[in-house]
């Protein structure tokens, strides 16, 4: 890892490049600096034109944060707590079951018949229409009935010698990752309708911990499976083979050997997932309304409620940003150890 690509440059051009990178760093840093200083401003420090340096340009105050804590501009404390709870649990669950799936895809062989997949989709669609239109079930009831029915039929069909291609592990991985290509609005809106109809059956999912976490877990899984597969592939298989000779069951190999060996990867994946859930806006907008509102929704709301109260807006934005700033520091330390290299092979 030497100075590739720039080795032929003179010292003058090297300096020019350094200046360019420095300029980009300043562009990156300025808005962050701006939001930090603005959060400590008093109203006169804002309306009198831009001010930059605390104690010289303006007198800093903690008032915006005290207002935030006291809940003058929305229930910040509880929303912060919501975001933390939902973020931590969704990231933990997604990392756990995603890592399991990734491990299975790396070490075990799967064969899914294309025909079985097709049968699943057609039966789910057909069953839904049948239950809903002809048998008089409501739409969520019809979906919930058609789903296990189609799944069971597909699993049976997978054992039959159907014509058509057979899909392997790579295809299953592709199916997971391709879920990320979906415009989330397709799912968010349908999920909102589905959740509210399930709510009418008596099981509250809109504006609930379960509903929001479930949705975030599903949407983090593609990234988790993708990242974790690379980490698991990098682990030498010899250790596992040695354990298998001693007849150690697979689940103990996974928990006792593989998980400790890929702790760094699991941690990095967990943090990336946490960042994704923490910042997520669209699903929270559709699926929450008051009790389980998350931070991005409240922060976005500051805009319309308080036109020019920049000190309040900045403090609100800062509350949403600071946890991620800490994470950036942690992640960059991991990045330096070459941890994320594997992720993009």
């Amino acid at each position: 890892m030497s100075g590739q690509g720039l080795t032929g440059l003179s010292s003058w051009s090297r300096r020019l490049v350094a200046v360019g990178v420095l300029a980009w760093c300043l562009i990156t840093a300025f808005p962050l600096y701006w939001v930090v200083v603005t959060a400590f401003k008093t109203p006169p420090g804002v309306v009198g034109g831009p001010t930059y340096i605390p104690f010289v340009d303006f007198t800093p105050t903690l008032q915006p944060f005290i207002d935030l804590y006291q809940g003058i501009r929305g229930e910040f404390f509880r929303t912060f707590l919501n975001s933390t709870i939902v973020g931590l649990s969704a990231a933990a669950i997604a990392t756990a079951i995603g890592a399991m799936a990734a491990y299975a895809l790396v070490r075990f062989e799967f064969r899914v018949r294309f025909g079985a997949g097709l049968i699943f989709f057609l039966l789910a669609l057909g069953g839904y229409l049948l239950f809903n239109n002809s048998l008089g079930f409501t739409r969520p009831q019809a979906l919930l009935l058609a789903f296990p029915f189609a799944l069971a039929a597909a699993i049976v069909a997978n054992r039959l010698p159907l014509p058509g291609p057979i899909l392997g592990n790579e295809d299953i991985l592709f199916w997971f990752v391709s879920q990320r290509m979906f415009p989330p609005i397709v799912t968010a809106f349908a999920l909102y309708l589905l959740y509210s109809e399930i709510g009418r059956l008596g099981f509250q999912l809109i504006d609930s911990f379960v509903g929001l976490t479930l949705c975030y877990v599903a949407f983090s899984l593609p990234i988790v499976v993708w990242l974790m597969r690379d980490f698991f592939e990098a682990i030498p298989i010899e250790v596992e083979e040695a354990a298998m000779v001693d007849n150690v069951p697979s689940w103990r190999i996974f928990l006792g050997i593989v998980v400790p060996m890929s702790m760094n990867g699991l941690l990095a994946t967990f943090m990336i997932t946490l960042a994704f859930v923490w910042n997520e806006f669209l699903f929270a907008l559709f699926l929450t309304n008051s009790k389980w509102q998350t931070l991005p929704i409240l922060v976005a709301g500051q805009n319309s409620q308080r036109g020019d109260e920049w000190w309040a807006i900045s403090a609100a934005a800062l509350v949403a940003i600071i946890p991620m700033m800490i994470m950036a520091g942690l992640l960059s330390r991991m990045m330096r150890s070459g941890l994320l290299l594997g992720a993009i092979k």
Partner: protein
Amino acid sequence: MMRNDPIKHVFIWPAVLVVLAISIFPLIYSFTTSFLSYRLIPPIPPRVVWFGNYATLLQEPRFWNAIVTTTLIAFIAVGLQYVIGFGVALALNARIPGERLFRVALLLPMLLAPVAVALVARMIFNPTMGPLNQFLSMFGLANLPFLTNGHWALACIIAVEIWQWTPFIILMMLAGLQTLPEDVYEAAELENASAWQQFWGITFPMMLPISAAVVFIRLIESYKIMDTVFVMTGGGPGVDTETLTLFAYQEGFKKFNLGYTSALSFLFLIAITIIGVTYLALLRPHLEKRR
């Protein structure tokens, strides 16, 4: 070596079930709804209109406007992100002075909530009290209509996108650059190839697969843009900066026109698929040539 042990089903099924449940349910639901005329407010019983919703949408100028806006934002922003990101990654890889300090700072923006970033951008782009206005006033360009003129607003949104997502490209390209073999450069050095020749002859072609993947990811993600626009302009002025997701949100959540919104989200899905497939088809010959 692949093992075959029944326990593999315990490992993979939880993830498959969750993803199936959360993606297939809504897919079937909105697919069937897209052929209905179905409103919640005012409540009208569903009526089958087949492709009626799709036909209405394709004749709707606001839909085409949203497509053009989203495409402009995605392509311009990702193009500039790639150029800046690749440049900075090259520079960081060449061990310029102070490179370690830069890394933390460069990683930050992409981890921050887009809504918070958009709020900060609103302050910076404020035409009277913002710091950017003060800076430009020094050059005699006072009180520009940053967020109130359609073209300016679009440019501002693109600028924020670039600010936030260039770090992702830097991160990925840097990781890619570090995997390049050194001996090729040593050979080029012996041939007295200039830095410029080395870049176009070695670095760029060798980085093409990673570049293709990174640009692909960013393009797809950019097409989903919503939070930044929602906070910065709300789609305004008028509908000048309205993106596809925002349009769908307005139709669905404000008017509760379910059939129409479902049809819209399916057209969106089709559009993304077309763009993705075209992109991969265009790049395939370049990627395979090197193998």
